[in-house]
């Protein structure tokens, strides 16, 4: 009652609930219901799903590879994204807009475009592979195999993850009060120290958020990897895809793997949200 008397004018909570309801209904039916089915399927199998997974070497290798891929892709994307964002922040607005247009392109690309582009560049007969062979004598077979490993996948994933990082960090850097850096330099700090002592501590929160977000995306995605290497690399989402497409697989195990994968992604992103909000 006290609350009702308080915060808002009449056309408040009720109207908003009504306006929100179609969207919430859609999410309920086409997001939470399907996930609920996955959860139900996993639960229906009792402990069978989880025990099968835990006993499976493939699962543990897949988990290790996925986490490795997530961390590598995130490290690479955040490092490159930070460097690019730092450079963009120093540009005049027009130039920055032009660069941002180019950099944002991969954001809406289908993962397939990225995959095929990398096959053409870094595949066994790829442009870069053959160039390296001609220039440095690099073995094309070994080189292209590296591209199809978790390390190589991280390099490919960075193609559409780095833009996310750039888009998250650039506004922060553009709005950063650069007089702070000038002040530190006037006190005798070197350029590196200025970055390390003044800029980076203040960038920590958005950087952690960005890191967690792109790591979670990299851990959960399968499209690009499927197009690039088929189901040859053992990462969790591809493992799950294989089980899902195979009519004969055990639903309880498949569903449990799905829940585990979703839990990992949620957890990674949750940590980022928490750390980002905490500052």
């Amino acid at each position: 009652m006290a609350y009702r008397a308080g915060l808002t004018s009449r056309s408040g909570a009720g109207t908003r609930a009504m306006l929100a309801s179609p969207g919430l209904l859609l999410f309920g039916l086409f997001f939470f219901v399907p996930l609920g089915f996955v959860a139900y399927e996993a639960a229906a199998g009792g402990t069978r799903g989880l025990s099968t997974l835990l006993a499976s070497r493939t699962f543990w290798f897949g988990l290790a590879n996925s986490l490795l891929l997530g961390v590598l892709a995130a490290v690479l994307s955040v490092a490159v994204g930070l460097a690019v964002a730092l450079r963009l922040a120093r540009m005049k607005e027009q130039a920055r807009m032009a660069w941002q247009f180019l950099i944002a392109l991969p954001l809406t690309f289908s993962g397939l475009i990225v995959a095929y582009g990398f096959i053409l560049a870094f595949g066994r007969a790829g442009f870069v592979t053959l160039s390296l062979e001609a220039l440095l004598g690099v073995n094309p077979v070994a080189f292209s195999q590296a591209v199809y490993s978790p390390y190589g996948l991280a390099f490919v994933y960075a193609y559409y993850l780095t833009p996310r990082v750039v888009m998250m960090l650039t506004p922060v850097l553009v709005n950063f009060d650069t007089a702070q850096l000038a002040a530190a330099e006037s006190m005798g700090a070197s350029r590196i120290r200025t970055l390390r002592d003044i800029l980076l501590p203040q960038l920590k929160a958005p950087m952690i958020s960005a890191f967690a977000l792109v790591a979670a995306v990299a851990i959960g995605a399968y499209g690009t990897a499927l197009a690039l290497v088929g189901t040859q690399v053992n990462i969790l989402p591809l493992q799950l895809f294989t089980m899902v497409s195979d009519a004969g697989s055990d639903f309880a195990v498949t569903a449990t793997l799905g829940l585990v994968l979703a839990a990992i992604c949620t957890l990674v992103m949750g940590i980022g949200e928490w750390a980002g909000a905490k500052k």
């Binding site: 006290a2 609350y3 009702r4 008397a5 308080g6 915060l7 808002t8 004018s9 009449r10 056309s11």
Partner: protein, 345 residues
């Protein structure tokens, strides 16, 4: 129409802030300023009157009508928001015409009124421009015109000058006053700027921590503040702790002083106030309320000179004198200017 608040109470859920026991009356044609530090509840009062918040207790009256449970859109109040809240996708004329459109005023009748409102604020030549292309002062005028064009029953101003630079502020003060007088409309003016409040308002309500401490004319507020908080908030003040000895004597860290007559009983803990310009420079410390000392910080401020006077006992007083007066060897605190007031509310 008269705007009246009776015993308003409001608490924000889950927070201690809010307002308590607010009773104010703003008569037709009167401008009442509500002044206080941020967080004192002055904006809450405006939101309560506007209807954006609902009071937990109390009554809001416009004229004879109790509007406490009337929705904001039916209260007929003109509001000027802090950041003007002009609609960015409408031209200046469309902004001003919007309340008329909502009231289904026919175009033939609306246009002359829009034109008149535009001319009144001197912006007729900018009628078709979008709000963003105007300066802060011009946007402010549009906001005023929009708030007045539909002949509201009262006008609410929410820190209307805080987004303007100092030069523009003076000009807009006069402009707001001119229009307010022209319309003869009851006006509530929320501000944190004491100079603004004192120079514009017929009466000023000083607020702190959700309560109104004093409502009075600017002159009375300065000359007879009810307590220490009001005294510090309005103008410069020398304030000391004191203990009442008699109806015209008070004990202070400076010693026992003669003071203006007051109603406190002997033994009461009070505050003792004297304004810097009431202190008189004298040649020697020979007589009632006279003290020798030295001038420490001597500031020339154009027509006047403000200095700190360090007494031999260690106390310091701020003194304002005519700029031609030389630093004196002693000062006098005239008893009639030495006010005994409450320490707190």
């Amino acid at each position: 129409m008269t705007l009246a608040l009776e015993n308003l109470h409001f608490n924000y859920p889950g927070a201690g802030a809010g307002v308590r026991d607010i009773s104010l009356e703003i008569r037709d044609g009167e401008l009442l300023a509500v002044i206080g530090p941020s967080g004192c509840g002055k904006s809450t009062i405006l939101k309560l009157i506007a209807g954006f918040l609902m009071p937990h207790q109390g009554v809001i009256r416009i004229g004879d009508q109790d509007v406490s449970s009337v929705p904001p859109r039916k209260r007929d109040l003109g509001i000027v928001f802090q950041n003007y809240a002009l609609f960015p996708h409408m031209s200046i004329a469309e902004n001003i015409g919007y309340p008329l459109k909502l009231r289904n005023v026919p175009t033939a009748e609306a246009w002359p009124r829009i034109r008149e409102a535009l001319e009144m604020v001197g912006l007729a030549h900018l009628a078709d421009r979008p709000p963003r292309s105007l300066s802060g002062g011009q946007q402010q005028r549009v906001a005023l015109a929009r708030a007045l064009v539909f002949r509201p029953r009262a006008l609410l101003l929410d820190e209307p000058l805080s987004a303007l630079d100092a030069a523009m502020r003076g000009e807009m003060r006069d402009e707001i006053l001119r229009l307010q007088r022209l319309y003869g409309i009851a006006t509530l003016h929320i501000t944190h700027d004491q100079e603004e409040a004192l120079s514009m308002a017929n009466r000023v309500a000083v607020m702190r921590e959700g309560r109104v401490l004093q409502v009075d004319t600017p002159e009375a507020l300065y000359a007879r503040p009810v307590n220490r908080a009001v005294a510090t908030f309005v103008g410069h003040a020398n304030l000391m702790d004191g203990e009442v000895l008699a109806e015209n004597r008070v004990r202070t860290p400076l010693g026992d002083l003669a003071c203006a007559r007051h109603a406190f009983s002997a033994g009461a803990g009070v505050s003792v106030l004297i304004r810097p310009e009431a202190i008189r420079p004298v040649a020697a410390a020979d007589g009632v309320n006279r003290f020798a000392g030295t001038v420490t910080r001597n500031r020339f401020l154009g027509s006047l000179r403000r200095f700190d006077f360090a007494l031999s006992g260690g106390a310091k007083l701020m003194v304002e004198v005519d700029h031609q007066v030389a630093p004196p060897p002693a000062i006098e605190l005239p008893p009639e200017a030495l006010l005994v007031i409450a320490s707190s509310s």
